[in-house]
């Protein structure tokens, strides 16, 4: 029988890190940081997602094919967000140009 790629110790550290990050994001949430509130919250959430994917979902230990699929999905998601925002956030500019 081959040893599992990840030990219980690693799972436990991942678990504790996730709880710590959840606590951190909640505590930081009480501060008024203006628009940065959301930026920090999403950054911490991304860190938590990476921990879950890498260790709980074994993404770090999977074959290259699976890592390419994962990267492809994330890149496509970012394309969707950035093109959509590129449209909505610049609509005012176009109106200003064509306005007066």
């Amino acid at each position: 029988m081959k040893e599992p790629a990840i030990s219980i110790k690693t799972y436990t550290w991942t678990f504790l890190a996730l709880l710590a990050l959840a606590l951190a994001t909640t505590l930081i949430g009480f501060l008024d940081l203006g628009p940065f509130s959301m930026v920090i919250a999403v950054t911490i959430a991304t860190a938590k997602a990476i921990l879950i994917a890498f260790f709980f979902m074994h993404a770090l230990y999977e074959s290259k094919v699976i890592r390419v699929i994962l990267a492809g999905g994330i890149i496509w998601f970012l394309i969707m967000v950035s093109l959509t925002l590129g449209d909505y956030m610049t609509r005012g500019w176009v109106l200003n140009l064509g306005g007066k």
Binding site: P4, Y11, F15, L19, G29, L33, A41, M57, I69, L85
Partner: protein, 217 residues
């Protein structure tokens, strides 16, 4: 369908490792389609939030922060027990697999219970968009829009949790039947991937719905 308790190798695969990886790739591709499903909603939320940041902060101030925070911890716990279930399967400790699967399902049910308590409190607070929505502050329609996103996205997440508990109960049943061993436990692994994915979705839901309202409250 009868399944040998030992390793399964179907004829189209050269090695058990290849068979396992093929199944795993299928699950990852499915999860990417789920990323796109939730991603569309996250994109729409971002567009609305950037257009009406004040209204969305005001809506966020009405979240049940304590329950939401507890639920975040609860879901992290369930991911941990799920990971331990897979680890037990890989080391051939079937009794512990049963134990950890049961724990994961119970913790998942606790999450759903807390979530529906939150929904109940929002209804009492008259924050059910279109049905019963009272809000006297400025930009009320956009505050209502925040709640539309809130109910839609957490509702879709809760639906995934329900399906997840269903999947786990099938896996539990098959574990009890002795379908898995240290050599073959691919279905458990795939069920685990799904469960962890739901956890990732919640991590982002917590960040966008609850956190911004904390300082506004």
């Amino acid at each position: 369908m009868s399944e040998p308790a030992t390793l399964e190798l179907r004829e189209q695969f050269a090695t058990p490792e290849q068979q396992r990886e093929t199944a795993s790739i299928g699950m990852w591709v499915f999860l990417i389609t789920e990323v796109m499903l939730f991603g569309g909603l996250f994109t729409a939320f971002t567009v609305y939030r950037l257009s009406h940041p004040m209204a969305f902060d005001a809506g966020s101030a009405h979240m049940e922060f304590l329950l939401g925070g507890i639920n975040t911890a609860v879901l992290i716990c369930s991911s941990y027990t799920m990971a331990l279930a897979i680890h037990s399967a890989a080391t051939g400790k079937e009794q512990r697999v049963v134990l950890f699967l049961l724990a994961t399902m119970v913790i998942g049910a606790v999450f759903l219970g807390i979530k529906f308590t939150e929904y109940y409190l929002h209804f009492q607070d008259h924050k059910a968009p279109a049905l019963w929505f009272d809000y006297s502050g400025p930009q009320a329609p956009y505050v209502q829009m925040f709640f539309v996103f809130y109910f839609l996205m957490t509702g879709l997440h809760a639906l995934h949790m329900t399906v997840g508990i269903g999947i786990l109960s099938v896996l539990l049943f098959r574990t009890l039947l002795g379908s898995f061993s240290a050599e073959y436990y691919t279905p458990l692994e795939l069920g685990g991937l799904y469960w962890h994915f739901i956890d990732i979705v919640w991590v982002f839901l917590y960040a966008i719905f609850y956190i911004p309202g904390l300082h506004v409250r």
